[in-house]
């Protein structure tokens, strides 16, 4: 049941295949997310406001095409690995290298189970690696990751409010001094009543955080905790 209080997550889905885009879009909608789909890593960066490594609101940047200046809040990027031009891995790197967007969780999808590929992505900072076909159960596991970023952004906005710095840098928040969520949880006393319920969420997120890191390699190991056993690795042999 979707209650009014349930936060809306905005997911940016990247895949060069129209078919896969349609699928991931429906899955995300079903998981109650707001979805934007793009067909390439370049378009994804453009959407985020990053082009050729230059952040859009940089006054020195020469812009030749119309640019989105509004604040784009993206809570998760989910991208296909195999794409022409910029691969999902390349996109992951660019996102993690950008000061404005490195905190956005990135999930990689692939139709191939290549352990070396999976490790590389996870090491580069991908939150999860999903084997296609992606299922609703997979996406629902992403909620804690998205919640974490959303809360962080909101809390940082609260910090930013009293001392609004002139915007010379990226549209997104300035380099946060608070590094992790526990710090935020302790420092911020509820400013408004609406912050209270989120503190409950914080505790939940922290607990889930531990289990999440254990599950990172889930795609490589067999055995998912779903109701029925799916022959996910049928016909594919992997040596991990």
């Amino acid at each position: 049941m979707v209650m009014a209080a349930e936060p809306q997550f905005h997911v940016l889905a990247v895949d060069d295949s129209l078919f896969d885009r349609k699928l991931i879009e429906r899955l995300l909608q079903k998981a109650s997310c707001q979805v934007t789909t793009v067909d390439s890593g370049y378009k994804a960066l453009e959407f985020l406001g990053l082009r050729e490594g230059v952040e859009i609101n940089d006054p020195d940047a020469v812009s030749t095409s119309p640019v989105i200046h509004q604040e784009v809040e993206v809570n998760l990027i989910i991208t296909d690995y195999c794409m022409p031009g910029m691969t999902g891995y390349d996109l992951l790197k660019k996102v993690k290298e950008s000061s404005a967007f490195k905190n956005i969780p990135v999930v990689i999808m692939s139709s191939e189970n290549v352990p070396a590929r999976i490790s590389r992505c996870l090491e580069e900072g991908a939150e999860e690696f999903f084997l296609k076909p992606v299922r609703l159960a997979d996406l629902n596991r992403l909620k804690p990751h998205m919640m974490k970023t959303k809360l962080k952004n909101q809390m940082l906005e609260e910090i930013e409010k009293p001392s609004k710095v002139e915007s010379g840098t990226a549209a997104a928040v300035v380099e946060p001094e608070v590094k992790d969520l526990t710090e935020i949880g302790i420092k911020i006393v509820p400013l408004q009543s609406e912050v209270e319920p989120k503190q409950v969420h914080l505790q939940v997120v922290q607990q889930e955080d531990q289990t999440m890191s254990n599950n990172k390699r889930k795609s490589v190991e067999e055995g998912l905790s779903t109701d029925r056993s799916r022959p996910r690795f049928e016909g594919i042999t992997t040596a991990v």
């Binding site: 078919f19 896969d20 139709s111």
Partner: protein
Amino acid sequence: MDAHVAQLQMQYRNYILSLYQQGFLDDQFTELKSLQDDGSPDFVAEVLSLFFDDCVKLVGNMARALDQIGTVDFCQVGANVHQLKGSSSSVGAKRVKGLCINFKELCEAKNYEGCVRCLQQVDIEYKTLKAKLQDMFNLEKQIVQAGGIVPQVDIN
């Protein structure tokens, strides 16, 4: 509600079950159906339509590549097989997916005759599936027209 609707519904149920039993569809198709709802009532039909378009395109590409007798680019063929394997897997087209797995190996082995045979099988298989699913949709339409509801078929 009359006996006619009930009969159609039973026919529908049996038909769907047979598609699974005969290996045309797998549980990924079930997943797709579960994603369809009042907000997206034609989702399955749309996705299938995209899938079959893909089939036509990819089979065409592969046929052309295999036509270049003596200079067949097996990597190219393999790339198309890879795509078809991905989409058939995502749609629950079990038999097509199975053929693609074999096909991939044949490409890697640069087995020309094997590839040509496999491509023919893929062509037949996706067309067969398309016809079967069309029959399924027609049954759904008949049920609705007769005033009934399309039953949810529990595969397990």
